[in-house]
């Protein structure tokens, strides 16, 4: 087991290196010039050239890469071209909202989708099953921003139950923190409820006809116990996989929701940085996302051994 974990962690290094090279090259090959953005509209070509030199962008790309990677290996991802703040401090500022939103979304989605999917499987073909699957189709089909705007219109503008936008840090009070996260989390959770409910239904259906479930029923166990301890647990591996992938996707992919609800998270930082061609920030954030993917995948693999003792590494 420990050997396996060690091997997996070592395997992340080449992955991160490849990501680093790709991100670095893609940014340099993308049209756009951070110096021109910094200089502003009234700047002359000479102004732009001076800023390019100041930022080190006039050096050969290979030199720039080795300077960046050399500093990165020492944990220094440089300073944002624009904010004159270290990239690390920018990420530190933005990581809490993103993690909070991702966590609450996954909790909501899991709490809603797993029981619904299990129930749909248990009542396969019934009206409950059709309703759950119908909701899933809607969750998949309606774009996140539409769900967001509709929820804002109803619950913030018309009913006034929630704020339209903004984020409150956990340190400033749990009540306000939760209050501002509920609508964005529901918005995001709609998609994951759809995905997870369908996955749960399919997985539970597969195991409901297994011999051990029939045996459990024959022993006279109550339906709930059979469903939770015999069916759901054995169907859990694909469900946990989807939840894990969901977390990874949410950490890097909640740009639309962060924009609609004005949450200053990592997604918005990435988009702002890409639009402004803030190379150091984009590079560091993408590396962070890659690292998160790798770690979450490893955690999922390890989780399999807990859920299914037959799996050994």
């Amino acid at each position: 087991m420990w050997n396996y974990i060690g091997r997996r962690i070592l395997a992340t290094l080449p992955v991160l290196l490849i990501v680093a090279v790709l991100v670095f090259l893609m940014l340099r090959l993308t049209p756009g010039d951070p110096a021109a953005v910094i200089a502003g509209d009234a700047a002359t070509s000479q102004d732009v050239a001076e800023i390019r030199a100041k930022l080190g962008l006039d050096r050969p790309v290979v030199t720039q890469f080795f300077i960046w990677i050399g500093r990165g290996l020492q944990g220094d991802f440089g300073e944002s071209f624009f904010y004159k703040k270290t990239v690390a401090s920018l990420i530190a500022d933005r990581i809490e909202p993103t993690l909070a939103l991702a966590t609450l979304t996954i909790i909501l989605a899991t709490l809603i989708a797993v029981p619904l999917g299990t129930l749909a499987a248990y009542r396969q073909g019934s009206w409950i099953d059709r309703i759950v699957m119908g909701i899933s189709v809607i969750g998949f089909s309606v774009p996140v921003f539409v769900i967001g705007y509709v929820l804002i219109y109803v619950f913030a503008l018309q009913l006034g139950w929630f704020p339209v936008q903004g984020y409150q840090r956990l340190a400033d009070g749990f009540g306000g923190f939760l209050h501002r996260l509920i609508l964005p989390s529901i918005t995001l959770a709609m998609v994951y409820v759809a995905l997870l409910a369908r996955m749960t239904r399919t997985s539970v259906l597969e195991v409901l006809n297994e011999d051990y479930v029939r045996t459990a029923r024959a022993k006279g166990l109550p339906n709930l116990k059979v469903l939770v301890f015999h069916a759901l647990r054995n169907a859990a591996v694909p469900i946990v996989t989807v939840i894990g992938i969901g977390i990874a996707v949410l950490i890097g992919g909640v740009v639309v929701t962060e924009s609609v609800y004005n949450i200053p998270g990592l997604g918005r930082l990435t988009v702002d940085a890409v639009l402004a061609r803030d190379y150091p920030t984009v590079q560091a954030v993408i590396l962070l996302f890659s690292f998160a993917y790798v770690v979450i995948n490893l955690a999922i693999d390890l989780m399999y051994t807990v859920l299914d003792p037959r799996i050994r590494y």
Partner: protein, 528 residues
């Protein structure tokens, strides 16, 4: 539905709403103004960049020696009294009493001179002014002199320049920073103090009232007059999604949106909780910029054809729709400003395609396609290039319109390569009117070849006229020179102005006292 079940639902709703409200922080922040500006504040050095959001930040925390009032006149601001010698070669300025920086140190002549030096090294109008300056030296702590090599009419216009780069006054230790380095301390003597510790790029910038600010006694007018901070705190909240910003305004979470989407204005006009405020009547000026280095626009006659092919209404309407938000202005300098004139423009901008074709024929236009850069992500620019393409094609041009995001355009426009090798022929942009008020300040009129802005026009006659304007001290004669500049523009087009547009700000109804100025400022503003 029975009455009891309806009652039950209402009660549950009320309890839920009350619980949610209880979770909210107190909303009674009467002394905090929360505004959504046109952009996120990324850079906080107003001399290092010309970005308008940074200029606005500058007006919050710094003060200026002179400033432009609502009528366009330059008025003393930090300066108490000033005068010029009979030969117009020595200017003497004395600062008002009691001017303090936010670090509790008095503003001195040395601070002023260091600030002017840094600004003069970076800003185009500042550079021009400095070309006349022999020496700047302090006479005492509050008085300084500027000696000139030859007289210039630019002195007050430059020191009272309202838009980027503005000659803001900083402490000497900060102003001594190289103009090519960003400052690291944000200490001014303006009406608000920047809370650097609360600045979260991409989220908010915070300013608090500077209690020791010594405002002028005159009422606020333009960016001149008494800058009285009437709220304790101003928060610039960055909300990138335009719909969300407006939703937040309607819900009362935000007090003002500086730059609302045109599409949302009709709905906002009908909303009883908000009002529109025309804060900048001069607004902005659209411009078609040529690259004169390459065919076909290396030929001035081919450029002239566009004065005939274009009409301003088509451009303005395509973006702004309603007439109250735009103004056809057949003049080089913005209509409503002192140097504006329609002389020579009478037969231009009529979409006279016959005349345009004749000019193309005379010029021997060989069908070389015009690479027209089309910015797709800024709503105030997106519709311009397709209109230009259509009008140009009707005049006989071949147009290769290439779409890209604004930042790609900004990077590409600085390339001198041929259009087929990553260069360009033309693009459209917009200037804040306050930036293009005179021949020296208007960057696109600079025709000094390699030293000119992107497009690199090269015309000795235009440069002579600009220099003559800079040397002229009589306002009447300056106006005559400005008309000659306009005439020269028609003969040697460096760019084509395409009319003025403006956008109202949207405020909650409890916000009052906003100042009409070319820059959005927050002194004088009250929140009831």
């Amino acid at each position: 539905m029975s009455a009891s079940s309806s009652l039950k639902r209402t009660a549950i709703g009320a309890v839920f709403a009350a619980a949610m409200l209880a979770l909210c922080p107190s909303q009674a922040q009467q002394n905090t103004l929360k505004v959504v500006m046109h952009s996120d504040l990324k850079i906080v050095d107003p001399i290092w960049t010309t970005a308008y959001i940074t200029r606005n930040h500058g007006y919050m925390i710094y003060d200026t020696l002179f400033a432009m009032d609502a009528k366009g006149d330059i008025k003393p601001q930090m300066v108490g009294k000033y005068g010029v010698s009979a030969d117009n070669l020595t200017w003497t300025f004395t600062l008002r009493d009691g001017l303090m920086f936010h670090d509790d140190k008095p503003v001195t002549s040395e601070d002023v001179i260091a600030s002017l030096k840094r600004w003069g090294a970076k800003d185009s109008l500042g550079q021009k002014l400095m070309s006349f300056v022999k020496e700047m030296k302090p006479a005492d702590a509050k008085t300084f002199t500027i000696s000139l090599n030859s007289p210039t009419g630019l002195m007050l216009q430059a020191l009272g320049k309202p838009s980027s780069n503005v000659p803001f006054i900083m402490p000497k230790r900060i102003a001594d920073t190289s103009p090519n380095e960003q400052i690291k301390e944000y200490v001014g003597s303006g009406p608000f103090v920047f809370k650097a510790d609360e600045w979260k790029p991409g989220d908010k910038a915070v300013y608090v009232k500077f209690a020791k600010y010594r405002a002028r006694s005159e009422p606020a007018s333009g960016v001149a007059g008494g800058k009285l901070a009437k709220v304790e705190r101003v928060e610039w909240r960055w909300i990138p999604d335009a719909q969300t910003a407006v939703n937040a305004l309607v819900a009362g979470e935000i007090d003002m949106v500086e730059d609302p989407l045109n599409d949302l204005l009709p709905a906002l006009k009908k909303n009883p909780s908000v009002k529109l405020f025309d804060g900048n009547p001069l607004g902005n000026q659209y411009t078609f910029r040529f690259n004169v280095l390459h065919k076909p626009f290396d030929n001035p006659k081919i450029r002239q054809a566009l004065f005939y092919a274009f009409n301003q209404e088509d451009f303005l309407k395509a973006v702004h729709g309603e007439k109250e938000f735009y103004q056809v202005c057949k003049a080089l300098f913005p209509c409503g400003t002192p140097l504006s004139s329609t002389r020579g423009m009478e037969d231009k901008y009529e979409s006279n395609f016959k005349k345009a074709r004749e000019l193309l024929q005379e010029a021997g236009y060989d069908g070389t396609p015009v690479v027209l850069m089309h910015s797709t992500d800024l709503t105030v620019l997106t519709n311009l290039a397709p209109v230009a393409k259509s009008l140009m094609e009707r005049a006989g041009f071949k147009v290769d319109m290439q779409s890209m995001d604004w930042q790609s355009l900004v990077a590409r426009r600085s390339k001198k390569d041929p259009p087929g090798a990553g260069g360009w022929n033309a693009f459209l942009t917009s200037w804040v009117s306050a930036d293009v008020l005179n021949p020296v300040g208007a960057g696109f009129l600079n025709a000094s070849c390699d030293k000119a802005m992107f497009g690199w026009p090269c015309d000795e006659q235009m440069e002579k006229l600009r220099d003559t304007f800079a040397r002229e001290t009589d306002a009447g004669k300056q106006k005559a020179i400005a008309e000659q500049v306009q005439q020269r523009l028609i003969e040697y087009p460096t760019h084509i102005p395409l009319g003025q547009w403006k956008k109202p700000q949207v405020l909650r109804k409890n916000i009052d006292g906003n100042v009409v100025a070319p820059v959005t400022v927050f002194w004088n503003v009250t929140k009831k």
